[in-house]
């Protein structure tokens, strides 16, 4: 019986026990730190043997080789170049030290670098780095592999691909999730599980970072989705300060008791990480001896993932939308952008479609004369960083799809695999290798079948090929083929019948590209909407569409309610609440001038000029300003002081006021009424300081209250400020500084100004400035824009 089968047989019968910490044990037994641990263990084989011996006695079924950092990048930090030899020696040492019933797992740890798209190591370089290590470990005779303490899903993928491309050995992968339930790169346990189990990991789980209590929810969240055994290797609790010393908090007994709960939650393989000792493992083995294991609950799962989160496709979920906009067909601007290597449109399409409710993003970069292999790869890398939605890889170029699948840091959906010979022979095995789901397109080299009956036969034929490669019906989504109703009046009915057959007979998920049905018809949106509703009623799971189309999304939301896929209609209600907010102005305000007030209060920059224009038919510009606008912006200041408004609201209102003022300015002059001349205020962020957003807010507020503001900008020298005071004779000078080191320059300005005999007032502010500091340098303090306005008014009045 091979090792893989032996391990799987044990897992069926009982919990498999791993070892505890090696790094901390080495330190206890003499490793001095600061030198290469791998080299030190090779030079001190007895120490390593004693650790293995203790873990074997404690009951470990599997011990890890001491090769956590034995990859090219980490060894090179110690000028060690023989990666294969180092791994081989350490694997041999472990094999010699363990008892015959203990397996040795070749340990692969992180390189210490992040892999593209999250870091600067190229994906293929990472695969090759790990392959070198795998080769050495295989030569040393390891029984299985463990890829552990991974923080980057892409690095875990690279290591797993490296192992799988060299051996069929049982391979475990564990990642490190922080307290917030994500890796440092933002991957949650479910997403990591979906990605790595589909890529071929034989067991998956978590290690390090947290104790057993913190690890429990990770296992609980993964168990319902796992098709493979789950692993947990927690620390001995979290380090805490005890009598002046920092220690790991859990005793062996407490650790074992707590870790037992993880087994109850469904973990099949358990051990210990940092701070655990052979004693912890002995207690764990004892407590789990008669614990019945919980095998994976599923054999396969319809699930996709991005590098951040998972997407589970279940039968009774609301209809899911695959956003179709990242596709250059018929979009000249996008075509040009792709040809020029730009990404801004794709970024905005991704963002917009997510906002509008897409669950997945279709990505098609097919433009004539484009290097699709490169562009698709680059686009996938970029999208993997900016969106957490899983991607649908849409291309007819098999090489481009292969490259994209290799580097995509999640489980992708391929759009699509048909019954065409090339797709079956070339693309299907590639999809199987990378564990992707695929959209099954029921057409062949010979025909695009017009009837549902013909389509069902092709579906079964393609699935037959896929099954041989290990696919299940959970791994496919059938495209039910939408043809144009204007050229074949039965085409919509055939599509609907195909959906019904997939749902009721074949029992697989379905998708359609909706809009083709109405091609050539007038008022297409109504045909599309009706068709969507009918398809939903037959059990359609997904539609490829533009989620920004209001009619389409409204029908989707309504259909979900009617088909009991949104049982309490909460999503429906939310959708219409979000898209049609109550227009408070219309409801509460009846006159044009009151609309102007409301616009200022609400920060409605878009409509202020329109409201002013209407108000001027019944009121003079001066009356509008004095009776409605000034009181409104003053009220905004009051609301801000009472904390009923916060900063963005204050500024939005101020900007609305400014826009209104600018619009009124020529009219105010035209009216030729006397206007009290504005007081001049000079503003500057002092020398050495480049922070000026606070000063900009102050400038905006002052202008709105009728002051003439001269803004000198940031990092302004004392000399410049003094010259400007001399030239402009301001009533007030406002100085800003964010840092203690630059704050002192305020004093310099004021001292020099007084020496020169300037009589102006000074108001100072900024993050580190205090009232007492302001007083000490002969200035007035204001903590924000509202206070500056108040202070300025008082100072001017008293002048």
């Amino acid at each position: 019986m091979d090792t893989k089968r032996k391990i799987l047989n044990i897992i069926k019968k009982r919990i498999l026990i791993l070892d505890g910490a090696t790094g901390t044990e080495l330190q206890k037994r003499g490793y001095p730190g600061g030198i290469c641990p791998e080299k030190w263990t090779i030079d001190h084989p007895d120490v390593l043997s004693s650790i293995y011996s203790d873990y074997c006695k404690a009951g470990s079924d599997i011990v890890f080789t001491s090769t956590f950092g034995a990859n090219r990048l980490k060894l090179s930090e110690y000028n060690i170049s023989d990666v294969v030899g180092t791994n081989k020696k350490l694997a041999s040492l472990a094999k010699k030290a363990v008892t015959k019933n203990t397996f040795v797992a070749g340990d692969i740890g992180p390189t210490g670098h992040f892999i593209e798209p999250f870091g600067n190591i190229k994906f293929e370089e990472a695969v090759n780095i790990f392959k070198e290590q795998v080769k050495g470990l295989l030569e040393g005779g390891v029984d299985l592999f463990v890829i552990e303490t991974m923080m980057d899903i892409q690095e875990a993928r690279a290591a797993l691909i490296a192992v799988k491309e060299l051996t069929d050995s049982f391979t475990m992968v564990t990642m490190t999730f922080e307290k917030d339930g994500r890796t440092l790169n933002g991957t949650n346990p479910a997403a990591a599980l979906i990605t790595l189990q589909s890529l071929g990991a034989d067991a998956f789980g978590c290690n390090c970072s947290t104790g057993p209590l913190g690890m429990l929810p990770f296992i609980e969240s993964m168990k319902p989705l796992a098709t493979i055994p789950l692993i947990a290797k927690p620390n001995a609790g979290l380090p805490k300060l005890l009598k002046g010393k920092t220690v790991f908090e859990m005793s062996p007994k407490d650790f074992a008791q707590s870790t037992k709960n993880i087994a109850s939650a469904g973990a099949n393989i358990l051990g210990g990480c940092c701070g655990t000792t052979p004693k912890h493992i002995a207690h764990l083995e004892k407590i789990l001896k008669n614990k019945k294991p919980q095998m994976p609950l599923k054999k396969s799962i319809s699930a996709l993932s991005s590098s951040k989160k998972s997407f589970i496709l279940t039968e009774n979920d609301p209809l899911k939308i695959i956003g179709e906009r990242i596709n250059p067909t018929g979009k000249k601007a996008l075509q040009e952008e792709l040809l020029n290597g730009k990404t801004s449109l794709i970024r905005s399409f991704a963002r917009e479609q997510k906002e509008k409710g897409a669950s997945l993003l279709d990505v098609n970069v097919g433009v004539p004369d484009i290097d699709e292999v490169k562009v698709l790869k680059d686009t996938i890398n970029m999208l993997s960083i900016i969106t957490d939605l899983p991607l649908v890889l849409d291309s007819s170029n098999i090489k481009a799809l292969e490259k994209a699948l290799r580097i995509y840091p999640g489980r992708a959906l391929i759009n699509s695999i048909s019954g065409e010979k090339e797709k079956i022979e070339k693309l299907l095995p590639i999809a199987a290798k990378y564990g992707a789901m695929f959209i099954l397109l029921p057409l062949t080299d010979k025909e695009i079948p017009a009837t549902a009956i013909k389509r069902t036969k092709i579906i079964q034929s393609i699935y037959g090929h896929a099954k041989k490669l290990g696919f299940t019906k959970q791994d496919i989504v059938v495209d039910c083929l939408v043809m144009t109703v204007s050229s074949d009046p039965r085409s919509a009915i055939e599509t609907l019948d195909t959906i019904s057959w997939c749902r009721k007979t074949f029992k697989t998920k379905t998708v359609i590209g909706l809009s083709n049905v109405s091609f050539g018809m007038p008022q297409r949106k109504w045909i599309n909407a009706s068709f969507l509703s009918l398809a939903a009623s037959r059990g359609l799971n997904m539609a490829i569409a533009n989620p920004s189309l209001e009619t389409f999304m409204n029908i989707k939301m309504a259909s979900d309610v009617l088909l009991n896929k949104d049982p309490d209609a909460s999503k429906y209600i939310q959708h219409f609440t979000d898209s049609k907010p109550l227009d408070k102005k219309e409801a509460l305000v009846s006159t044009p001038e009151k609309n102007v007030s409301a616009a200022i209060l609400e920060g409605n920059r878009e409509e202020i000029t329109e409201f002013i224009s209407k108000a001027l038919s019944t009121i003079t510009p001066e009356e509008l300003v004095n009776t409605y606008m000034i009181p409104s912006i003053t009220k905004v200041g009051d609301l801000f002081e009472k904390k009923e408004y916060f900063l963005p609201q204050l500024i939005a209102s101020a900007e609305t006021m400014k826009k209104g003022f600018n619009y009124l300015q020529p009219l105010l002059k035209k009216s030729q009424k006397t206007n009290k001349s504005s007081s001049v205020i000079l503003l500057a962020t002092v020398r050495g300081d480049i922070h000026d957003i606070g000063k900009n807010i102050v400038a905006l507020m002052l202008k709105n209250h009728g002051f003439k503001v001269i803004d000198l900008g940031k990092d302004v020298s004392t000399e410049t400020i003094l010259n400007k005071i001399r030239d402009n004779k301001p009533s007030i000078v406002g100085l800003s500084a964010l840092m203690t080191t630059t704050m002192v320059n305020m004093k310099e300005v004021i001292t020099q100004a007084r020496k020169k005999g300037f009589k102006c007032h000074f108001i100072v502010g900024g993050a580190v400035v205090t009232n007492s500091y302001a007083k000490s340098i002969g200035a007035q303090y204001a903590k924000d824009g509202v206070e500056v306005v108040k202070a300025a008014k008082i100072l001017i009045k008293n002048t």
Binding site: A21, G23, T24, Q27, F68, E77, Y78, F114, F118, G119, N120, M151, T176, E178, D180, L184, G186, C208, S209, N235, P239, K245, T246, V247, F248, C274, G275, R347, R351, E355, I385, D578, P581, K584, E602, G603, R605, K643, E644, F646, L647, P648, Q649, I651, A652, A654, E655, K659, R687, G688, D689, I690, H691, I693, N696, I697, L700, M739, T740, T741
Partner: protein
């Protein structure tokens, strides 16, 4: 060993509540309608697309701590009683630098001087919070490595410009981390540019 480690793309989930708080939102008093909230959160999303969070860090051995001056290996020293006190009990330091990148700063400057100061202020808050969180991210990263050595980082950090740890030390930190490689420059007054760039020092202590 102990080379500078660069992190070219740091992922930090957006913690909306922290941004709201930074902008002065008070859950007991502040009233905000759905439209304003949606607008704000659109700005959050836009800011995320502009952020280019990067970091650099280096572990350095403490050779001597005489309570007034910290001497590090490589002939590096910081004169600061407060820093020396903070590092009491530490055998090494981790020096860190992080930046939110140029793009977001360019957008903030543009917004601040044009007609969308509101967005500029929101971007500013998002960038400030996110770049601060880069330190937490790096601390978590290094703690995973350090735990294997039975060590961990101090929970608190110390930055140049606080107490008697003068801002001019930022020049030394800049050089140690070779922050030019992250497209950061240093002004004559020791301010990092782009503006949303920060540095800090943490201690490394033993777990017994």
């Amino acid at each position: 060993m102990n080379q500078i480690k660069y992190f070219e793309s740091i992922y930090i989930p957006l913690r909306k509540e922290k941004i709201y708080k930074r902008l002065g939102y008070n859950k007991h008093f502040t009233r905000i309608d759905e439209k304003q909230k949606n607008q704000l959160e659109d700005y959050f999303e836009e800011a995320l697309l502009l952020l280019e969070l990067k970091g650099a860090a280096k572990r350095i051995l403490i050779e001597k701590n005489n309570t007034e001056k910290i001497s590090l290996s490589g002939n590096i020293s910081f004169e600061s009683k407060k820093l020396a006190n903070f590092l009491e009990g530490s055998s090494e330091v981790l020096i860190m630098g992080a930046t939110a990148g140029k793009k977001i700063m360019e957008s903030i400057v543009k917004d601040s001087t044009s007609d969308n100061l509101t967005r500029g202020v929101v971007f500013d808050a998002v960038a400030s919070e996110m770049v601060d969180d880069c330190f937490l991210w790096m601390v978590n990263y290094f703690n995973t490595e350090l735990r294997r050595e039975n060590r961990q980082l101090t929970k608190r950090r110390f930055s140049a410009g606080y107490g008697d740890f003068e801002l001019k030390n930022q020049k030394l930190i800049y050089n140690i981390l070779e922050l030019n490689k992250l497209d950061i420059t240093l002004s004559n007054s020791f301010i990092l540019i782009p503006e949303k760039s920060v540095t800090a020092v943490a201690g490394i202590i033993n777990i017994e």
